[in-house]
Symmetry: D2
Subunit: 336 residues, 4 copies
């Protein structure tokens, strides 16, 4: 026990942070240490968490806490302020916020109305989508953990983009549906039980902060993309229905072959056989990204159905996957 | 249209108030007038309500608004402040809050920690449970609309208490379950979608503000009653499972006969046949109180299962039923 | 009471049929008569329905039952067999099944694998979408009530198609989501509570029986349309997110003006103001079709968000609207 | 991998069986082997299970399958037929059905209307509630895994019964609420999504097959117990609200002390501090039984709120806990 690697967590009361703690409790080489950055409210305190290690956030914890890595499951403004301190203390960082996901300060100006003061870290940060950036993640100091919508969208789109089979003129339509945990724990009339149950609503049509991130990694152009974010009456899970056209007529087998080539050795991407499609229940509480394909060679239309658990592959699970890479541990530890 | 009776509504943005508006829109003799007591937030405003009549709350509306009756679907502190103004203006009042439900200022001290300054109105207010107080309601100036839990409990218990068949020593256990709308629209970590969905929790065990009201009308003594309030992952509906013992051995038929005698002509109480029990779906969106009975003559145990829609028979529907009585209209108008 | 018009209902135990009974119970000129076509199972029988009028289905009921109109909320095979009998008896018919929705026997062969033996009735049947076919419905003998998905899709698409503003090359993508009641009451592993709750799944991608009907009325061509049907963890409600492009750059105001021109006097279609979108809660338990619009003039993309209650405007409500037309009654009676 | 202990599972497609497979996949010393006892339906087959080991059920699997233990997650009739074969083959058995839970053939006659033909196995079977029967379980050949309702009820009641503090005259009322998975995967109108969502219903009042089992272990007498089983609109979880009276006036601290003495070293029972109560979210996806206490010394009333995940501590988790005991492995392996 005593010789396990210690991983700090800032922001452990939110959904992603709590999920991170739960995953790390199953990890055989790493143990979680809660870094208390603010006073918890009564609702955030339970005797059930009494067994967890805690340290007050601060220089002392960073210097003498015996930590190897720190996770930030905090709002992007908080990450922007605190992450540099952890880096300065010589620790590795996995940031689950959007603070270091976009590459330019201009993007933060435009999409977040934020003066980003650390272009150096934007340049340094590695975008932690292991299926594409595993090698650079292994040697990274700062890993920017992908957003939930872009994780599913990029894993779905990128093989077709790379292979060059899309009809770019026809564009890409991503009709995305997410569970409520994607909106975080903050109270809002929109996440009151009675506003969500027996309901379904579109809350971001053609405009969403995840769009630049989605574009960045998928290599789709902004004018090509139509993105809609919708709220499902479920706690967790994302399903994206993605509509594209291929330049040439292609069958299920031909398209699936492209995905299988790219993801053949990936432990967390599963390509579904013809006629089967993933849903939230195939992925929830797992780190999988499940991908189903429906093709109509006659009209060259292709529909991709991709599902992830937004709190696992879309947040905490992928963060642990990245931590495993950063620390040189088996990539799937605590995740299968 | 123009010669319909005008009914004011204060507190029309909450669940009960909105339900009240909806019911009154179906009423053939009455039309709703929204009395705006405070500025609505953006979430409370929708173009869909554009067709409704509105007046700013105040002396002018009360004097010249052409109103015959005013509903208050407001917190009890607000009702305590505003109801007297409406009465002073010569209007009839149906108050959906607890402000005038208990008969003594002592009860408000004890259960609400409130200095009640209108003992005169406590004495005057009629407790609006039509099945028992129809006649006094018809001539009342101020009707105090019953709480949701007590409505179901009193309609279930009172026949057995009146008939004197209970083993009072054995006590009364009321295991109550309510949908989230019972907690109102106010934001709280307890009513966040993710805290409620796939969950069930007891939030008031042996202590609840509805207890004195429940006792008042059922004639059960405080030391006899054990009441538990629990939160169901549904928007609306209350189901109460009530455990009593009879002094003598009694069959389903004998117990049902007692209920049938009391409720024979009641339009909104339904006694279920042996072997059938009500549930939320038999009552939701209706003004019914459904009562099922299970008796074990061997052990003298009786279990009553009572269900109501907390927003209808437990609030807005019963309020309209009371309004119909107060205004001399057919009691079931807009409610069947 | 005795001089109300009598409307028979075949198939009153299903979701649409039960909804129909409930709506007709609120109707001031019409009363429902249940036509018992088969023996009900125990689960379909409740003492709560004891007050309803019943007649055994058959020649006697059709001839001497005093009926003016008969609704069929039955599977299409049953409708195909029984509807002609009601017509032969001189009654008007509103059929909620798909039996007479498509115009050619070829379509039934292709989409339903069905030998349709009544091309004469296909030719005669009026497609009961009142917003477009009100006048012919008024004089119809047989009204074919639209399917739920096509109702929302056609009301959304047709104004843009008629006005000729669409980029037809870009096609139409309809990403549709429906509550479980859309699948009917028949037991299936797919509609078991545990398979649906906390889940979301696509069950028909690029292929669905509602496609030909959708095409028929919207005047979109088959190769232009991409339709996906998905299952929401809710009981009722349909929301469709529809993606099109306009040939020329168009603003919200320009597009909304087209809808407002077409639906200006329609009692059941509401066009949402810019920035507001409908959801299931704005339409459930109502006969409205709510339409929201999001336009991006730069890319010429337009996203239409349309919502209906699949059991009301998508079935029983629209059926009553059609009955009102057929019987010369006020079109909105029992529906507002 | 090759030298792991092999555990067979009969009935792996049901909820408990599937949960068992999932738990065993996390086990470090044991690996699951699916024993195919009947042909799976299409709905029970998915390419996602392709990695699991399978053997056809039969003498060959039992003799040469290298199995040490077999789990039966089958209906009790099936267990009654198959369990003896596994025992005859010299294997240990954990049976999750009710086939061997009651001690006498008379009980099966009365509660299951079943001629039980193996009184010898009823006599031999160990009731697998580890908190009370750990020692005999360790040396058992046949472990009868407890039912879900009795697990929570017995863990809650037995300390008070043993300590002799209850007012036995006052009886025990157990108001139990369960998620839908407790009813199994079999299709029924009662478990259709639309019958359960936004609903809550009592389905067994004063009579339930779990009663004899509950009595057996808690040492409560039948005439003392009032048990109600109710259906929650959730997939998993049981919460029981249990009402008793103490013979003498007792405080929370005194009652909690009794529980703490009994469960002090138990890894899977948590006694909640005063003022905190468990709910489904504190136990779901865990093997914990959480117990909260509310006492009113004035009236001697005590309310116990107990929660378990019916599929884990109420079925598969407890079964693995029992397997760990039977095989001499660490009791909490795969369960924390």
């Amino acid at each position: 026990m005593g010789d396990r690697i210690r991983a700090g967590i800032v922001g452990f009361t939110g959904y992603s942070g709590a999920e991170l703690v739960k995953i790390l409790e199953r990890h055989r080489q790493v143990e979680p240490v809660l870094l208390e950055h603010r006073t918890r409210t009564e609702d955030e305190t339970s005797f059930l968490d009494g067994h967890l290690q805690r340290l007050p956030w601060g220089d002392e914890a960073l210097r003498d806490g015996g930590l190897a890595v720190v996770f930030f499951a905090t709002p992007h403004e908080v990450s922007l302020e605190l992450v540099p301190k952890a880096l300065d203390a010589g620790l590795k960082v996995i940031d689950l916020s959007a603070a270091f996901r976009l590459r330019t300060v201009g993007n933060y100006q435009r999409w977040y109305n934020l003066e980003h003061n650390r272009p150096d870290l934007l340049a340094e940060a590695v975008y932690g989508l292991p299926e594409y950036f595993r090698n650079v993640t292994k040697v990274a100091r700062l890993v920017s953990n992908p957003g939930c919508y872009p994780t599913a969208a990029n894993l779905s789109l990128r093989p077709l983009v790379i292979e060059g089979v899309l009809d770019r003129e026809a564009g890409v339509i991503c009709d995305a549906k997410s569970g409520v945990s994607g909106a975080g724990k903050k109270l809002s009339p929109r996440t009151h039980f009675s506003a969500v149950t027996q309901n379904f609503s579109a809350y971001a049509v053609l405009v969403h902060r995840h769009v630049p991130e989605l574009l960045l990694t998928s290599d789709v152009e902004e004018h090509e993309l139509s993105f809609t974010a919708q709220l499902l009456p479920v706690h967790r899970g994302i399903l994206e229905t993605i509509y594209v056209r291929t330049a040439e007529s292609m069958s299920y087998d031909e398209i699936a072959a492209i995905y299988r080539k790219v993801y053949n050795d990936e432990p967390f991407v599963r390509i579904f056989p013809e006629g089967e499609l993933p849903d939230l229940q195939t992925v929830n509480y797992t780190n999988f990204c499940d991908i189903g394909i429906k093709a109509d060679p006659k009209t060259k239309r292709v529909v991709i159905v991709a599902a992830i658990d937004n709190l696992v592959k879309g947040a905490a699970g992928q963060a642990v996957q990245n931590m495993n890479l950063v620390l040189g541990l088996p990539e799937t530890e605590a995740l299968l």
